[in-house]
Symmetry: C2
Subunit: 511 residues, 2 copies
């Protein structure tokens, strides 16, 4: 390439929007989080299964809310046999494919979990990523509301295992059948209204983010946001909008009562425009299922402070057919400008009885729950619930004489063979640069051997952590005395013991 006389234009090193690199503290935090979640999910009897990051586009289906995005929010490309392949946008659609493909071999109900990155071609924006991690559990082959209840309990247990105290999160439950019943009541039933129904559901989904006046716009003629982008509305009439508003008031009627009484209470108190109309039966089925879920939750001791029925919960994905859940963080946080931050949902899920049946003749009821690991991690970092202190780096053996690099390597090997993280300085910098390097790596100590030390059979140890502490000393004599403990000579054969000593002195453990 050096043959060409003109200097080639250099490429710009940059990432596409909505993607991010992750450093040591973020990676360590994710590892701890996924280990914790895994423990809880396994205690609940779920076993791991993983599918690849890509699937045939038709097998995934298009259930995302981003209908105005390229390929409806999914990254897709054509295979060499012309078939379309897409990156998974969640872990549920691929699981449905997996279960359908391996149906006869799997135990039923089939209870599994998985963690992995998913990809959405979302409109980029602050905190909106196009690649993020989810951790899912699913029970496929059970129509029982107890399976839905279990998802809520597990969501709650997971939050607490992750260090979020009771009261600082809530698992909210609703049932799509109730919402679908409302749709029927206002004349939005039938396959021909599927699109508008979804628009209404997604408007309701925003009820915890927007004022009602904004929701009204989304239910009516549409809404223009601050950036000028226009979201088409559901074109409901004022009377239809009023019925939707009333249906959201249900939540005040949901209270935890003794078994049975709970049912009758809600069922008895349906607002009167929902009685003796189309949709009433579906609403009542949804309410009955919510009652069954609440019975199990109560029996297991998950009272209202952990799991709560909330009629505004919708979930944006199109494939839900029954119970829907959402985990919300109630932690109080401020952004860098001191404004209160709403974290919103850090996990959710629901019943998707139709998803596996897309591939099979028999009905296959299923329910699942997904933790947004990336989103939860971002939230916990914001409230300082995640350790972001830099970890100790390796012991650095400096190089004074390139000819003697094999000798220095021997010292490194000795330390490594004894389980100590260690490395040879491999750059071309002089002593100052090597010390700066060790500092940047947060090295607990540095090993030094010039020709003078070599001839005397000694090595110098520099205790970097002690050095950092000494910087705070103001008294000159005291500082001098303290510095003597920072850099000192030991015999070559004492190297290993002395490095161990330094590590013990500063409680260095590597995570």
């Amino acid at each position: 390439m050096a043959d060409k006389p003109k200097k080639p234009q250099k490429l710009k090193a940059r990432l596409p929007r909505g993607l991010e690199d992750r450093g040591p503290t973020a990676i360590a935090a994710t590892r701890r989080m996924t280990e914790t979640i895994r423990e809880v999910f396994e205690r609940y009897g779920f076993e791991p299964v993983e599918t690849p990051a890509m699937e045939y586009t038709d097998a995934l289906g298009k259930f995302l809310p981003d209908q105005d995005r390229p390929n409806e929010g999914v990254f897709s490309f054509q295979d060499d046999d012309e078939q379309w392949i897409s990156l998974r946008y969640d872990l549920t659609a691929p699981l449905a494919r997996y279960v359908a493909e391996n149906f006869d071999a799997l135990p039923k109900p089939y209870r599994s979990y998985r963690a992995g990155y998913v990809f959405r071609n979302e409109k980029p924006g602050p905190g909106r990523f196009r690649q993020f991690m989810q951790f899912d559990a699913d029970t496929v082959g059970s129509a029982s509301p107890a399976a839905d209840a279990e998802m809520c309990m597990m969501a709650s247990d997971t939050m607490e295992a992750l260090g979020i105290p009771r009261g600082s999160y809530v698992v909210k439950v609703n049932n799509r059948k109730v919402l679908d019943g409302v749709m029927d009541t206002i004349g939005l039933g039938g396959i021909e209204n599927a699109g508008r129904r979804l628009t209404v559901l997604r408007a309701i989904d925003k009820a915890d983010k927007f004022e009602w006046i904004e929701i009204e716009k989304l239910l009516g003629s549409g809404r223009r946001d601050e950036s000028g982008d226009f979201t088409k509305g559901a074109e409901l009439s004022p009377a239809q909008i009023e019925a939707v508003r009333q249906s959201l008031q249900f939540k005040i009627e949901f209270e935890w009562m003794d078994d049975g009484g709970w049912h009758e209470r809600i069922q008895g108190e349906l607002p009167k425009q929902f009685i003796n109309v189309e949709g009433e039966a579906l609403m009542r089925t949804g309410l009955f299922e919510l009652g069954e879920i609440s019975k199990v939750l109560k029996a297991a001791g998950y009272e209202e402070d952990r799991v709560r029925i909330d009629s505004s919960v919708v979930r944006g994905l199109e494939y839900y057919t029954g119970a829907v859940f959402e985990v919300e963080l109630l932690l109080d946080a401020k952004d860098e400008k001191g404004r209160s931050v709403r974290f919103g949902s850090v996990g959710g899920g629901g019943r998707y009885d139709g998803l596996v049946s897309r591939f099979r003749e028999e009905p296959v009821p299923a329910t699942g729950f997904s933790i947004g690991v990336s989103r939860l991690q971002a939230a916990l970092r914001m409230v300082s619930r995640i350790d972001t202190a830099p970890h100790p780096g390796p012991v650095v053996v400096t190089v004074f004489d390139q000819e003697r690099i094999a000798d220095y390597q021997r010292m490194v090997t000795l330390l490594r063979d004894n389980g100590i993280r260690a490395e040879l300085y491999l750059g071309s910098g002089k002593f100052g640069a090597q010390m700066k390097y060790a500092d940047k790596r947060n090295s607990p100590c540095v090993v030094i051997q010039g020709s003078d030390e070599k001839s005397r059979g000694i090595v110098l140890i520099k205790d970097c952590f002690q050095g950092a502490k000494n910087a705070a000393i103001t008294d000159r004599e005291e500082y001098k005395a303290a510095q003597a403990k920072v850099q000192y000579a030991v015999l070559e054969e004492e190297l290993l013991d002395e490095v161990r000593e330094v590590l013990t002195r500063h409680d260095v453990t590597w995570g």
Copy 2:
């Protein structure tokens, strides 16, 4: 959807070729492997960093050997601003982008590691996957052969940490500069010959898989494989082919000698057609660097049984500029038809001094090593070095009376709260189906409470593992006595203690 009278055609549940699902034992094995690799890499002083699965296509560059594949073997799609984005085909190209983008903030040399899935749009075939996991370490900003030597040592340590005994693997080292010198000698230097040079290198790369006669075809007019596919050759003349063949004989000259002598030996014994010709200087530089690497390896005690110089090592990726390494498994394995299986390379890497400089004005030398986790795992599974026994499943609490599901849930919660993996049977099957389910889940025991037991305040415990053992008993009386220990009643309040007892009896620990 039920409105439509005609039955819709069901989708076929299937994965695109070259992709696979992974079950519990494979996932557990990967987790153990990556944990082990991580420990070794961290002991060497590398710190984690992760980049996303996709990058701008131009930032990744096209360095794969699959030039006859769509997009040269890379999965690509256009972003909504028309820019092309690709899935990463390795972990090195994205790291180069990361280092270039964050150059000033990073310690130099920058030593990092990462694990992740990479994607190649390869021609599908047995054992060739389009998604697989790699685990990489890289030292960026060091031109020192000691950095290359370290990669070889770490590769060796990693293999042994993974349970592959010394002698059952070998790390082979070569230097692209030697090969590039040979190219110059036979008149294939210069940017205008880059394509043919690569074809020659890739032919040499196959020297451990094919007979020399096949390599000759690849160096000459081309080769047709058994499937009828034709690979274009490098169109070398017979004299050029002979020179390449001779250059591969170097390997017999490489021997481990005392420092210094090693250098002179190889440098003194260059076959005479490589002396006083163009390319000699480059070859000698490559040989000198190999000598420097061998000095460090020897000092650290990595004698020939772990790391070996081998002039046939090339590596298929285009971006290597100096030392190249490859880890080969020497384990003896047979496939299902009893034929010997060659695993080939399970890891490799090399020096890529030009990759970061694509983005920056200054030269940024770099070297790295990548373990093919998926490929190594497949190899270890074939020689039974990976535990594939099913793990114990959860304790299953059966359901006799749907009305009492809340009671059964209480038992499950009690077990879970005490750290025992447990679940409620959530299907709709009768007793027989529930027992079959527990069997399929490999449950250590099952908890049963019908109305009769309930009224007497007891529960039945079925010890499934004992039951499985009893199946081997042939004596009728003995069997009867043994079966009494398989299913028995305990008081409700003894449930937890008794389940613990069963778990202890069978040494059940969950991984």
